[in-house]
């Protein structure tokens, strides 16, 4: 610390200056807490083991039920039959195609909903007139089952991919916009005042203060938006199967029903569930964890 300490009444002795500096350093050291890193073992035993046990348990119960012959194999196929169905699809080379067709539709529809829902949410949250005009409708649309959009979408757009995207958009956009609106509504007013006094107004305010401050609500909306995208897509794929449409997981499920192939139905359901879980785990989980950790809301 160089002696730049010129008070209005002259210099202070440098000993006093050093004392003040040491005092500060002492206070800082006493009052700062260190975060601990989690070890790999803790992650394995805390995060990986419990779900593995749960899955094993479900499989055991399932197997036990089929052994106990509580009903026909036709009604409740054993796990092995589902496994055969899976390997059959795999060796015919269609498994990845089927999964990818649906995932691609789901993700690109979701990204489209993101691109529309984000500015829409900003507008609703920040412009009084827009909020009064479409806020309640947006709220209502969030609880409308998106299957309801399938019949009109089929009639408007015909049986092709654009119909799928329309259903996803109508299902996911309200959630994404709604999440952003509630995220913005929950911003502590202090942040907005601090932002304004720093000169962050208008679009700069939206970019540097409003959007990052609203991130927790926004992420929750995105998560729900993805869930809705995936659900609406499956509804659309199950209802609207046609040879013109690529074969997706929904169509796989529907073809299982048409041929009374319960193993295939089970397989389709498991795959649909798995995609939802994996996207949540690989995309939203890390995003959310990173955000919470950065803000000190979680260790």
């Amino acid at each position: 610390m160089a002696g730049t300490d010129l008070g209005p009444a002259g210099t202070r002795p440098s000993r006093e200056l050093r004392a003040a500096s040491n005092e500060l350093a002492g206070l800082d050291a006493l009052d700062t807490h260190q975060g601990a890193r989690t070890s790999l073992r803790r992650v394995l035993s805390g995060k990986v083991l419990p779900p593995a046990v749960a899955v094993a348990l479900v499989l055991t119960v399932w197997q036990a039920l089929t052994w106990a012959r509580i009903t026909d194999d036709y009604m409740l196929p054993p796990p092995s039959a589902v496994w055969h169905s899976l390997s059959d699809l795999w060796f015919r080379g269609t498994l990845l195609d089927v999964v990818w067709t649906s995932v691609w539709r789901g993700l690109s529809g979701f990204l489209l909903a993101l691109a529309i829902g984000t500015p829409l949410g900003l507008l609703v949250a920040r412009v009084k007139f827009v909020r009064a005009a479409i806020g309640p409708i947006l709220q209502g649309l969030q609880s409308l089952p998106s299957v309801a959009w399938v019949p009109p979408a089929v009639l408007w757009l015909g049986l092709d991919d654009s119909m799928m995207y329309a259903v996803i958009l109508l299902g996911a956009t309200p959630s994404i916009a709604g999440g952003l609106v509630s995220g913005i509504d929950q911003i502590p007013p202090l942040f907005l005042r601090a932002g304004r006094s720093l000169g962050a107004t208008g679009l700069r305010g939206a970019r540097h203060v409003v959007m990052p401050a609203a991130l927790p609500g926004y992420l929750a909306g995105l998560k729900q938006g993805w869930a809705f995208s995936w659900r609406s897509l499956m509804a659309a794929e199950i209802i609207a199967s046609s040879p013109d449409l690529g074969l997706g997981l929904g169509q796989l499920l529907e073809s299982g029903r048409e041929t009374s192939d319960m193993a295939r139905i089970f397989l389709a359901i498991v795959l649909i569930l798995l995609v939802g879980v994996v996207v949540d785990l690989l995309v939203f989980g890390p995003l959310e964890r990173r955000m919470l950790r950065r803000r000190g809301l979680r260790p």
């Binding site: 206070l27 006094s197 000190g296």
Partner: protein, 261 residues
């Protein structure tokens, strides 16, 4: 006696860091408009350190918001030299940014070129003696450190006027004491004008060249003191204590006036 009573008249043609002219502010209440500030006139000279003292709820924050331009007066006018920097009782740092990036955001919004931001942020952190805190997250800092980063961020606005709304009220006494020293040092180094709001009489006397006492309901300028105790002062100095006792008497008087009805 290190005090002198002065007139509230500063009617010179000199430039002012802050000029508050006959400002009144009322808020809509259940029984019609509620007057919070009534006909306040107050100037701050360039480079001057003024504290506004008053009981809780007397309208100190309201007045500071008016000066900061975050709100508009019901009557009267506030003029400042450029846009003032503002510091709150809560640090108001953005938790999604590191300490250094909080400062860089202020620099960026001020229009500082990208390459100059990092060195400038580090210089400001040095100024508040937090040289190593650039990459620290807000939640990793202690209360005192957060307020120092907030001070550095306010200084990053390169405003000639710093407004402070009870910035040390939530800190423990020792930390507050040390930060008083830091603030007077930085004030002297930078030549800023400071308008500092507090309800703590000793703090007001410890820091300021001039103490302005506000009355409550409605807030008016009740009395002013110039403090000519030389810096560096300490909060436990006899001169500081003596003037504090006198000002406390007046503050008590203001509060007592509301104990009747």
């Amino acid at each position: 006696m290190a005090t002198a009573l002065i007139n509230a008249e500063h009617t010179t043609a000199l430039a002012r860091a802050v000029r508050i002219e006959h400002v009144s502010k009322s808020f809509p209440g259940p029984a019609g408009p509620q007057s919070v500030l009534d006909d306040i006139s107050l100037d701050v000279a360039p480079g001057e350190f003024v504290t506004i003292l008053g009981a809780s709820g007397c309208g100190k924050s309201t007045l500071l918001n008016l000066v900061a331009g975050l709100d508009t007066p019901t009557a009267g006018a506030v003029t400042t030299e450029g846009r003032p920097a503002l510091m709150f009782q809560e640090h108001a740092l953005f938790p999604w940014l590191t300490a250094g990036k909080n400062i860089e955001l202020a620099l960026r919004l001020r229009g500082v070129a990208k390459n100059d931001r990092r060195p400038e942020a580090e210089r400001l952190l040095e100024l508040v003696r937090l040289g190593g805190a650039y990459g620290k997250r807000v939640h990793e800092l202690s209360g005192g450190m957060r307020q120092r980063v907030a001070l550095a961020r306010a200084l990053a606005q390169d405003s000639r006027l710093l407004l402070m709304d009870e910035p040390f009220a939530a800190l423990d006494a020792i930390t507050r004491d040390v930060l008083h020293g830091e603030l007077t040092r930085i004030w002297a180094e930078t030549g800023l004008s400071v308008l500092f709001v507090t309800h703590n009489v000793r703090e007001a006397v410890r820091l300021a060249e001039r103490v302005v006492l506000l009355s409550s309901r409605p807030g008016r300028v009740a009395k002013e003191w110039t403090v000519d105790i030389p810096q560096p002062r300490r909060i436990e100095d006899a001169d500081v204590a003596e003037l504090s006792v006198e000002i406390t008497e007046h503050l008590r008087g203001e509060i007592r006036r509301h104990g009747w009805h």
